[in-house]
Amino acid sequence: MMINKREKNSIVIFDIEGEIRRSDITDVTLHQLVKEQLEAGKKQILLNFDKVEFIDSFGVGEILASYISTHNLGGQLKLARISKKLYLVFQITMLTKVLDIHNEEDSALQSFFKD
C-alpha cells in the first residue's frame, strides 16, 4: 500500500493506492498519517480511494480510527471514490450513516465548504 499526500485549498488529501490489508502493514499507517496532520493543525481531511484495489477490516478500522481522531478534534474526514464493493460493505455495516462518502473528489472537496 502506498499513501501520497497532497493539499488543495487547505484540505489534506490522502491518495491511497494498492491494497489495505493487515498483512501489508507498513511502518506508517493511515491513522498515523492522519494524526500527524491533525497535530499539524489540519482539520479537513479527504481520503481518496480511487486506486484502492482491496480493503479488509483492518483497513476499515484504520478509516474509523482516523474518523474518530478527526471528529474528536472538531475536524472533518470524508471519503471519495470508494469502490462499489467497499460502498456495499459500508452500507451493510451502516458506516454510510456516519462516514461522508462521495463519488467524486470535487464534490467531496466542495462539501467541506458547505458544512
Binding site: L64, K84, I92, K97
Partner: protein, 810 residues
C-alpha cells in the same frame, strides 16, 4: 309397516339396519336351504362309506379330493363365462338332478360298492360348490361393516339348515332305505332355486343402494368378461402375500380336520350302537354339533368378533382342537373324546372360524377375491383333505413299522401327535394373518391430505421469500436496508440469478400484478457486483471483523443512541436499518444491547427488523420483549419467527407463558404453537401438562400443538393416561356430532397414543370417503383402539356416519 315389524323382530337377535331386512332374510334362507341338503348328503356319505368300504379305506377317500381340482377348474371356467345368477341357478339344477340320480342308483339292490366312493366325491363337490357360491354372493352384496354385523345371522341360517338336514336322517333314516332322503334334499334345493331368483330380482330393484361403493359391482348378475382358470387363480393367490397366508391356513386347517375325521370315524366304526344305523347316528351326531354351532353362531360369533377382534376369533378353534388332540393322544380309545374333538372341529369350523375366515376376505379387492376363492375355498379346502389323506397313510404305515411300532402307540395316537404339530403351525399362521389383515384394511384407505404446516415447510422457503419481498420493498426506501437484504441473501447462498434478476427489475417488468406494487418506484436499484474479486465468504468474514472493531462499536454506538432517542417520523427508516444491522453483530457486543429499545419501539416495521435480529442473536433477555408482541396482530408473526429461532432453549419460558392464566390468551396460544414448533419431549410434556390442567380456552390450540408434534416427531412420547382422560372428557362434552370438525379434537388425541398415520387416515376417510371406505375406516379403528375407547367413540361415529349413509356399527 310390515318392514318395521320385521325390523323389530330381527333386531332382537341381530344388529340390523332399516332397509336391510328383506335381503338379510333372503340370504338367511338361501343358506338354510343349501345346508339342509348338506346334512342329508353328508350323513349318507359317511354312512355309505363305512357300510360299504369301512374306515380303514377313508384315507383313500380323502385322496380323491384331488379330483376336486378338475371340477374346480371347470367351475372356474364357468364362473368367468356366465353370470353369477346363471351360475348359481345352474349349479342348483345340477345338484338336484345328480341327487335324483344317486337316489336311483342307491335304490338298486346290490349296487356296486365303489358307488360309495363316487358318492363321497360327489357329496364333497356338492358341498364345496354350493357353499362357495353362497359366500361369493355375500361378499358381492355386503360391505365390510355390514358383513361383520350380519355374518352371525347368515351363518346361523346355515347352521339351522344343517341341524334340520341332519335331524332328518337322524330320525328318519333306516339302514336300507336312507338313500330316499336324497329326494328330500332335492326338494330343499328346488325351493332354494326360487329364493336365489328372488335375491337377484331384489338386488336389481335396489341397485342404487348398492351402487355407492366403487368396490362393489351392483350388477353382480351380469356376465363379466374375465377368464379365471384354476391356474390363474393359483398364480393370483401365490403372488399375493396375504392370500398366500390364507391358503396356508386353509391347508393346515384341512389337514387337521382330516386327521380328526379319520380318528372319530375309526372309533365310531368300533361302536356297536352306531354300527346298526350309521346314517341315523351321523345324522343325530351332526345335528347335535350343529345345534351347538347354531347357538354359538347366533348368540356369540358376531359379538365375540366385535368384542375381541378377528385374531381371537381365529384362535379359538385351533386352541380347542389342540387340547382335544392332546386328550386323544392320552386316551386313544375314548369314543367320548373322539366325538368331542369331532364335535368341536365341526361346530367351531361352521361358526366362529368360518365367519372369521370370511371376514379375512373383506379387504381383498373384488377381482382378486373371486380368483382367490376359486383356489382357496373350492380347490384347496378339498385338496387339503387329500394332503391329509397322504399324511395319514404315511402315519398309519409308519405306526406299523419299526421303530415306531416298538413304542407301542396305536396309529390313532401318532395321528394325535401329528395333529398337535399341525395345529401349532396353524396357530402361528393365524397370528400372521390377523396382523396382515389390518395391513390390508389400511391399504384400502388412502391418506387424503397432509398437515399444512408440514407441506409449507417442505415445499416453500418461507424465510427466503420474505427476505426477497423485503428487499424489493426497501429498494428505494433505503439503500442501506436494501444492501443489508442483499447481503443476507448472499450469505445464505440464496442470491440466485433469478432473484438477482427479480431485484433488478423495473416496475413494468414485474411478473405479476400482485407483485407490481412492490416495484412502484421508477428508479432502478443499484445492484452491486457481488461476484467481483472478493467472494461472499470472505466478504462475510471482513464484515464481521469490522463489526467487532472497538472503533466501530463506538462510532455506530453514538449514532445508534441519537437514532433511538429521535422521535421524528423520518427516524423510522434509520431505526429499521440499525435493527437489521445489529443482527449481524455478536450477541455480546455493546451495540446488541441497543436492540432492547428497538424491540420496544411502537413502529411495527422497526419491530420487524428488531425481531429478525433478535432471532439471530438469540439473547434470553430479548424473549420477554418478543413475547409481549405476540398479542399484537401487527407484530405477532415477526415475534413468532424470532422466538422460533430460539428452539428448545426457551421451552421453559414458553411453558411459563402458557401456564400463566393472567397472561393474554393470544400470547398463551402462541406459546403453545411455539412449543409445537420446538417439538421435543420437554415441549410435549409442557403442552400435555397444560392440557391436563383443563385449559378450556386453549384446549383446541393445545390439542393441535400436540398433534403437530406427533406428526413431525413420532419418537416423542405422550402419557397415555393423560391423553385417555382428555379423550374421555372431550367425548363427554361433545354431544351429537353436528359437523366433521367436531370429531377432529378426539381424533387428534387418539393420534397421540395410537399410530398417527392410521388414525388420520381413518379420520380423513370418515369425512371424505365413500360408503365402503367409511366401513373400512371403522374396521381399522375396531382393530386398533382399545375397547373402552371404542365404547365411547363408536356411538358418535354411528350418529355421524349414519347421517352420511355409512355403516358404522361398533
Amino acid at each position: 309397516m310390515a318392514e318395521r315389524r320385521l325390523h323389530k323382530v330381527l333386531s332382537a337377535v341381530v344388529k340390523i339396519k332399516p332397509g336391510e331386512e328383506v335381503l338379510a332374510i333372503l340370504v338367511f334362507f338361501y343358506f338354510f336351504l343349501i345346508t339342509a341338503p348338506f346334512g342329508i348328503v353328508k350323513s349318507l356319505r359317511d354312512a355309505n362309506f363305512l357300510d360299504d368300504l369301512s374306515a380303514k379305506n377313508l384315507p383313500y377317500a380323502y385322496l380323491s379330493a384331488i379330483l376336486i381340482a378338475v371340477a374346480v377348474s371347470f367351475h372356474a371356467k364357468l364362473q368367468s363365462r356366465i353370470s353369477r345368477r346363471r351360475l348359481l341357478l345352474s349349479t342348483l339344477v345340477f345338484c338336484i338332478l345328480t341327487s335324483l340320480l344317486f337316489w336311483a342308483l342307491f335304490s338298486m339292490r346290490d349296487h356296486w360298492k365303489g358307488l360309495a366312493l363316487i358318492y363321497w366325491m360327489w357329496a364333497n363337490l356338492f358341498v364345496v360348490a354350493l357353499t362357495t357360491q353362497f359366500w361369493f354372493l355375500v361378499n358381492d352384496v355386503f360391505n365390510p361393516r355390514e358383513a361383520k354385523r350380519l355374518i352371525g345371522f347368515f351363518g346361523s341360517g346355515g347352521i339351522l339348515g344343517g341341524v334340520a338336514g341332519n335331524l332328518l336322517p337322524g330320525f328318519l333314516a333306516k339302514p336300507d332305505t336312507s338313500h330316499r332322503l336324497l329326494l328330500v334334499s332335492s326338494a330343499f334345493l328346488c325351493v332354494c332355486l326360487v329364493v336365489v331368483s328372488v335375491i337377484f330380482s331384489w338386488l336389481k330393484t335396489n341397485e342404487d343402494r348398492y351402487a355407492a361403493s366403487s368396490d362393489r359391482d351392483p350388477k353382480a348378475g351380469r356376465k363379466e368378461p374375465r377368464h379365471v382358470g384354476l391356474g390363474d387363480s393359483f398364480r393370483s393367490v401365490w403372488s399375493d402375500t396375504y392370500l398366500r397366508l390364507m391358503a396356508w391356513v386353509v391347508l393346515a386347517t384341512g389337514i387337521v380336520s382330516t386327521f380328526i375325521d379319520w380318528q372319530s370315524k375309526s372309533l365310531i366304526e368300533q361302536n356297536p350302537a352306531a354300527k346298526l344305523n350309521y346314517a341315523s347316528f351321523f345324522g343325530r351326531f351332526n345335528a347335535g354339533i350343529l345345534v351347538f354351532a347354531f347357538l354359538f353362531q347366533l348368540v356369540l360369533t358376531s359379538r365375540f368378533i366385535n368384542r375381541f377382534g378377528i385374531r381371537t376369533g381365529l384362535m379359538i378353534y385351533p386352541v380347542i382342537i389342540l387340547l382335544c388332540s392332546v386328550g386323544l393322544g392320552i386316551f386313544p380309545a375314548s369314543l367320548a373324546l373322539a366325538i368331542a374333538i369331532k364335535g368341536n372341529d365341526k361346530a367351531l369350523s361352521y361358526s366362529i372360524n368360518q365367519s372369521s375366515r370370511e371376514l379375512l376376505y373383506i379387504p381383498v379387492l373384488r377381482e382378486m377375491k373371486y380368483r382367490a376363492k376359486v383356489f382357496i375355498d373350492m380347490f384347496l379346502n378339498r385338496f387339503s383333505k387329500a394332503v391329509g389323506g397322504v399324511i395319514l397313510l404315511g402315519l398309519i404305515y409308519l405306526a406299523q413299522r419299526r421303530p415306531f411300532a416298538a413304542i407301542g402307540f396305536k396309529p390313532i395316537v401318532w395321528v394325535s401327535f401329528a395333529s398337535g404339530a399341525f395345529v401349532l403351525v396353524w396357530i402361528v399362521l393365524n397370528v400372521k394373518i390377523s396382523r396382515a389383515y389390518i395391513k390390508e384394511v389400511k391399504g384400502q384407505l388412502a391418506k387424503k391430505w397432509e398437515r399444512a404446516d408440514g407441506v409449507v415447510a417442505d415445499r416453500m422457503d418461507v424465510d427466503t421469500a420474505k427476505l426477497v419481498v423485503d428487499a424489493i420493498e426497501t429498494r428505494t426506501q433505503s439503500s442501506t436496508l436494501f444492501a443489508l437484504h442483499l447481503y443476507d441473501l448472499a450469505r445464505q447462498n440464496k442470491l440466485t440469478p433469478e432473484i438477482r434478476d427479480l431485484l433488478g427489475l423495473k416496475p413494468a417488468d414485474a411478473p405479476a400484478s400482485s407483485v407490481r406494487p412492490l416495484f412502484e418506484y421508477d428508479a432502478a436499484p443499484w445492484l452491486p457486483d457481488l461476484d467481483d474479486r472478493l467472494p461472499p465468504a470472505e466478504m462475510d468474514k471482513e464484515i464481521r471483523e469490522i463489526l467487532a472493531l472497538e472503533s466501530y462499536q463506538k462510532v455506530i454506538g453514538d449514532y445508534a443512541g441519537k437514532v433511538i432517542e429521535s422521535k421524528e417520523a423520518e427516524s423510522e427508516t434509520a431505526k429499521m436499518e440499525l435493527a437489521k444491522a445489529i443482527g449481524l453483530m455478536d450477541a455480546r457486543s455493546t451495540l446488541a444491547d441497543k436492540l432492547d429499545d428497538l424491540l420496544g419501539d411502537d413502529s411495527a416495521k422497526v419491530f420487524q427488523y428488531g425481531a429478525e435480529s433478535a432471532g439471530k442473536l438469540k439473547k434470553k433477555s430479548h424473549v420477554p420483549l418478543l413475547a409481549r408482541k405476540l398479542g399484537d396482530p401487527r407484530t405477532c408473526e415477526d415475534a413468532r419467527s424470532a422466538l422460533e429461532r430460539y428452539r428448545g432453549t426457551i421451552a421453559g419460558a414458553l411453558s411459563d407463558y402458557l401456564n400463566d392464566v393472567d397472561e393474554k390468551p393470544e400470547i398463551r396460544e402462541q406459546a403453545a404453537s411455539l412449543l409445537a414448533g420446538i417439538a421435543d419431549q420437554e415441549a410435549a410434556d409442557a403442552l400435555l401438562e397444560a392440557l391436563g390442567r383443563g385449559q378450556d380456552v386453549l384446549k383446541n390450540g393445545l390439542i393441535d400443538a400436540l398433534d403437530r408434534i406427533r406428526s413431525e416427531v413420532p419418537e416423542v412420547q405422550f402419557k397415555g393416561e393423560v391423553v385417555r382422560a382428555q379423550f374421555t372428557a372431550e367425548i363427554e362434552t361433545l354431544g351429537p356430532v353436528k359437523s366433521p370438525s367436531d370429531l377432529l379434537p378426539p381424533f387428534k388425541l387418539l393420534g397421540l397414543v395410537y399410530d398417527h398415520e392410521d388414525i388420520f387416515r381413518a379420520y380423513q376417510n370418515l369425512l371424505k370417503g365413500t360408503k365402503d371406505s367409511i366401513a373400512y375406516t371403522i374396521e381399522l379403528l375396531d382393530q386398533t383402539v382399545s375397547q373402552d375407547i371404542k365404547e365411547r367413540l363408536f356411538p358418535l361415529l354411528e350418529s355421524f356416519s349414519g347421517r352420511r349413509g355409512g355403516d358404522s356399527e361398533g
